[in-house]
């Protein structure tokens, strides 16, 4: 069973509000991913880190989304100004390395509803 811990499990925000969610990766996993899963089960990769450094992120993430993985603290994903289209399940995942094919372990997700 995965030991990736995500909090909160549910988050409700009004449009324009900030939404922040946290993730504790599995112990010893230096690589952390954030994905967005929408109601149609479409996954969108947002950003990933190796230790505290950003490895890759998509354009959407660069604008309203911010994320960090400080040392000795949970990783976080924050949406600066929530929009209705941001309503989704946000999944955090971690792995031992960023190498191709490395097994990735997922948390249970934070379900964001923007009203």
């Amino acid at each position: 069973n995965s030991k990736v811990i995500q909090t909160p499990r549910y988050l409700v925000k009004g449009q324009g509000q900030k939404a922040k969610m946290r993730c504790i990766p599995e112990k010893g996993h230096p690589v952390v991913f954030w994905y967005q899963q929408n109601k149609n089960n479409e996954f969108k990769f947002l950003i990933n880190f190796q230790n505290q450094e950003v490895l890759q992120q998509i354009d959407m993430t660069e604008k309203r989304f911010s994320a960090e993985c400080p040392s000795n603290s949970p990783c976080s994903l924050e949406i600066q100004s929530s929009e209705a289209g941001d309503s989704a399940l946000y999944l955090c995942a971690s792995s031992l390395s960023s190498g191709t094919g490395t097994e990735v372990f997922f948390g249970k997700g934070t379900r964001l509803t923007v009203v």
């Binding site: 089960n41 990769f45 995942a93 191709t100 372990f105 249970k108």
Partner: protein
């Protein structure tokens, strides 16, 4: 471009019957393929993975899958399903550069009594 297609959005099977899921991928080179299962209100759990070698791989919960390079497919099957197998199943391929997974849109499996 790399992509994954799951042609069946929904599959209904009777308890005790066999289950076959389908996944076709588009990838230049040797792909790293995965199947994940998502139970209600849960995250994704790894079911099967294929990297190389024997094209038939054994997974968890009685699933096995066969990789076919000629057909660009990675189809899992289970001989006898249980109601607890009701879930959404996702196929995924590891993107080049190893930095993200590319997912299909899932197959919802409903096991009827």
């Amino acid at each position: 471009a790399q992509s994954v297609t799951q042609p069946d959005a929904r599959v209904t099977v009777s308890q005790g019957a066999s289950l076959q899921l389908r996944c076709k991928y588009s990838y230049s080179g040797t792909p790293y393929l995965f199947w994940y299962v998502q139970y209600p209100r849960q995250g994704l759990q790894l079911l099967l993975k294929y990297y190389s070698g024997d094209p038939v791989v054994q997974g968890v919960n009685g699933f096995e899958a066969e990789f076919s390079k000629s057909n660009s497919s990675f189809h899992p099957r289970k001989a006898s399903v249980h109601w607890s197998d009701s879930a959404v199943y996702f196929c995924a391929v590891s993107a080049k550069g190893g930095r993200a997974l590319i997912f299909g849109t899932g197959t919802t499996v409903s096991v009827s009594p």
